[in-house]
Amino acid sequence: MSIDAYPQEHVGREVRPAPDRYRNVLGKYKIDRSADCISCGKCVEICEYGVHQKPKGYAFTLRPQDHLCIGPECAESESSCINQCPQNALTMRRNPSTESMGDPRWSSDLIVSTWHMAETGHAAPPHLNSRTGDSGGGFDKIRFKFETGKFADPTPVPADEIGQIDLGLDLNRSGDNRPQVHIDSPVYGGGMSFGSVSIHAILAKARAMTAWNSFTCTGEGGYHDRLRPYDDHVITQVATGLFGVREETIQRVRIVEFKYAQGAKPGLGGHLLGDKNTPPVARMREAVAGNALFSPFPFHSVYSVEDHKKHLDWIKEVNPNCLVSVKVSTPTDVDMVAVGSYYAGAHIVHLDGSYGGTGAAPDIAKKNIAMPIEFAIPKVHKFLLAEGIRDKITLIASGGIRTAYDALKAIAMGADGVVVGTVEMVAMGCVRCACCESGRGCPRGIASTDPELMQQMTLEWATQRLINLNNAWREQMIEVLARLGMKSIRELRGRSDVLCCISDEATPGGGATESEPVFAGQVTR
């Protein structure tokens, strides 16, 4: 309950269709219709997926809605539109535009399937791999045993009890006298500051998490007044720059997060490029517009666990009813960091792995500094268990949680819940072109405060996309728990025995032989 009880808005969690906001929707496959087409309508009759449409009264068949096409599985069958077309006017291929989108971490399949979930509110169709990316390691190397067929399946939850499966999580496990904070699903939204993303993106995140009784986080850009109706579902972030942090922004929320480091740029602090520091952003941050803003690393008043405790005590004093979360990166001694946070009095330790998202970070930091979250979770979980304090603190993981399956794997490895960020951006239409930081910012109007660009996306649409995404994740989580025979997400925590790891294939030797060098290291031919 917020301190000054600003009237809180109710947001429903109903799933409604929220189609792509662009005219041409991207799918995995592309259907080309040649000039030989005579608009006979045969394809319209055949296709059960709605790829071909010829509205009543139209003389011609419409341009194929090829994003609905499920690909070769259908196309190669005798009864497909391709094979049944009397003019042979139809062909199918992989969509080159879709292939140019994404990367090994976030494959184009993951992006398109996230769009599908955001549009429909339900899991993506099987022709899209919506569970793993192509990165070859981490979550992409881990599977649930039931996915492999190699291991005996556990007894599933009876069909009539699936409705009772509980995804909820209590965040205060410390046993102090502070209020309990319950979230309905083990997922909440990561910090994105006003400035790094548009107000529409911030509000949509907050509204969707309000609908799902979870949280979003302000990031380090101040607390926008328009977030007030969602105070009960907002986390105030206190980061090293203290941009826009005031006593009342700490007092009005139920969770306050101390950000020590961010996974994508661990040890480096934050950086808002001057271009994105527009007058409204500067006003919120109490800074000068157009100047690059640095959030220094680290907190200069923290050298030790005792100093850290002093910080947390300060927050607890300012807001006697809030829980305190500590967001840290994943150094080699991340387990010690977690224990230190516990002794300092944190309710939540939030580990942010090194492959997580960011509005701008040096490429060298994103790839090389600190460990990916997949390694940090079991390390910390096991250490906290050994210390006998695992049940006194909530462990939240973020930084590379892309899918519902990633989230479930993280929980099975030892986290209580996860924080997501990039997947929310993707649901709002991000293609991961990585241009969030340059010039006017995001060309798709999500990570931009440019007044013209941000109008590409309406608040209602973005909210619905995120509500739908949460619903789709929820359905997938319940399905997995049912298969594992678990009635609660809390049962899954630390159950790494339900997971298996894909073994490494032999590393190819590779490389051509070379002739003798003139000098060592130099090649002649």
């Binding site: 690393f297 970070a361 490429d363 460990m371 590779g510 060592a520």
Partner: protein
């Protein structure tokens, strides 16, 4: 305020055709000329720049190489006619190790010496072979200079090359017997090495030497090519020569600060002879990385050689007896470093490594694995537009270099080399800063401040049951 080390980077427009990652491959018929793609959708004016050719025939036809693949035009096209795809020319660049992405980021860094910064998270493979299976540590609370980003100039990147006596020796009368250390202090833990393949031209040698002077480091140069260099450049080169050539280069050796002798049977005697003839010079032995390198380094160290330049293959691997590639240099380095520590000789010795050092992080990671500094080769060529065609095998195919590297102008080449090393230097400081380490000398052999895939994966996933890739259809 005392002078601090500073690399003077400056914008230099590339004079080669830059191959972009994305391109428009399909602009089908029936365009309605609504110009939405050009005027409204493309934030980066890619279409406008391309069509500049239509107005001015002198303008070079720019394909859509600057496209960022935001797909706004594709998705916004009134008639759905546009497609963007990954440029096949981009994918053709480089080889298995020198990937197109490495080439592109090196070009970008050479333009103005800036650190590459981007949005979104990490976009590559989870890990890779060699240096890509190491993560560096960070410190949650320690910043070496306690003043955030403004303290970076206080982080030292200087290294010493040369023999370092472990203790001073005195005569019974108290006279110092140990000869003064001959140490060459470089401000950057990198020297500029010979190109890997025969593209050497006078221009390039001169540019490397000039860049080395600006960077306060040295450029490795074949002794025969040094004659063409201006005299003032000689202190910034390290001529490389064989034992049987030294008598021809007396004047040259008198003018330089460091020399490299190719490993061979007489190398110990040669180095001893040179050290007594040129007491202020530092001599390193240049050797291929082979399975016997560890033993060879220990043997030579025992007989008085204290500086080694170990050259791995182009992709950072050791050369086996049958010519096939073996272990990655990061693994061998840990062995060499470990053996030297065990023998109590590590601090006497300077290890320079080259081969497979393609990105700034490789420099940091090589030092973590035990090198004192690295020698940079191919990135200096890439800075000038090299595409590592066929892994460097196509330079002399008679069709000429697509980037005309053999005819680059001296100042242009120098500044682009300075820029790339400037960007690397800044990135090294980012890594050191994140680790809370104030000087690069302390990074050497700090394997406890790094995360190695083989260790962490065992710790994190070791207790999970295994399945083969075939069993999950991966």
């Amino acid at each position: 305020m005392p002078d601090r080390y500073h690399i003077s980077v400056a914008p230099v427009q590339p004079r080669f055709h830059r191959v972009g990652k994305f391109g428009n491959v399909d602009w089908r018929e029936d365009c309605s000329r609504c110009t939405n793609c050009v005027k409204l959708r493309c934030l980066y004016d890619v279409y406008k720049n391309e069509s500049a050719f239509n107005r001015d025939p002198e303008t070079r036809v720019e394909t859509l190489d600057q496209c960022k693949a935001c797909l706004s035009c594709v998705q916004g096209c009134t008639k759905g006619l546009l497609s963007v795809s990954i440029n096949p020319g981009f994918l053709e660049m480089g080889d298995d190790y020198w990937k197109p992405e490495i080439i592109l980021t090196t070009w970008n860094q050479s333009d103005a010496g800036r650190i590459p910064v981007s949005g979104a998270g990490y976009r590559g493979r989870f890990h890779g072979p060699g240096f890509d299976s190491i993560w560096t540590d960070m410190s949650e609370i320690v910043r070496p200079t306690r003043d955030g980003i403004h303290g970076r100039e206080y982080i030292s990147t200087s290294v010493d090359i040369g023999p370092k006596p472990m203790r001073l020796r005195f005569s019974p009368e108290g006279r110092l017997l140990t000869s003064p250390s001959r140490l060459l202090e470089l401000q950057l833990p990198a020297i500029l090495d010979l190109p890997r393949w025969p593209v050497e031209s006078e221009h390039l040698t001169a540019a490397r030497a000039a860049a080395a002077e600006k960077l306060e480091t040295v450029a490795v140069v074949p002794a025969a090519d040094a004659a063409a260099l201006p005299k003032e450049r000689l202190p910034h080169i390290a001529p490389v020569l064989r034992s049987d050539e030294i008598e021809h280069y007396g004047d040259l050796l008198a003018a330089v600060r460091m020399g490299q002798i190719v490993d061979g049977r007489d190398v110990t005697a040669t180095v001893a002879q040179l050290q007594s003839a040129y007491p202020t010079l530092v001599f390193s032995v240049r050797m291929d990385l082979t399975p016997t390198t560890v033993d060879r380094v220990i043997e030579l160290t025992g007989s008085g050689v204290k500086v080694f330049h170990i050259c791995a293959d182009h992709d950072g691997r050791e050369r086996l007896d049958d010519g096939r590639p073996g272990r990655h240099i990061k693994d061998v380095l840990r062995d060499v470093h470990g053996r030297l520590v065990k023998e109590g000789m590590r601090d006497e010795v300077t290890l320079i490594i080259s081969g497979g050092v393609a990105l700034a992080e490789h420099m940091a990671k090589a030092i973590i694995c035990g090198a004192d500094l690295v020698a940079v080769d191919t990135p200096l060529l890439i800075a000038l537009g090299c595409r590592v065609c066929g892994g460097g095998s196509l330079c002399d195919n008679g069709r000429g270099c697509p980037s005309s590297i053999d005819s680059v102008e001296l100042n242009y080449a120098t500044q682009r080399m300075v820029n790339i090393m400037g960007a690397w230097h800044s990135q090294l400081i980012e890594v050191l800063g994140a680790m809370g380490i104030r000087e690069v000398r302390r990074l050497r052999g700090e394997v406890g401040r790094a995360i190695f895939l083989e260790d962490i994966e065992k710790e994190a996933f070791g207790d999970l049951d295994r399945v083969s890739p075939a069993e999950v259809g991966a």
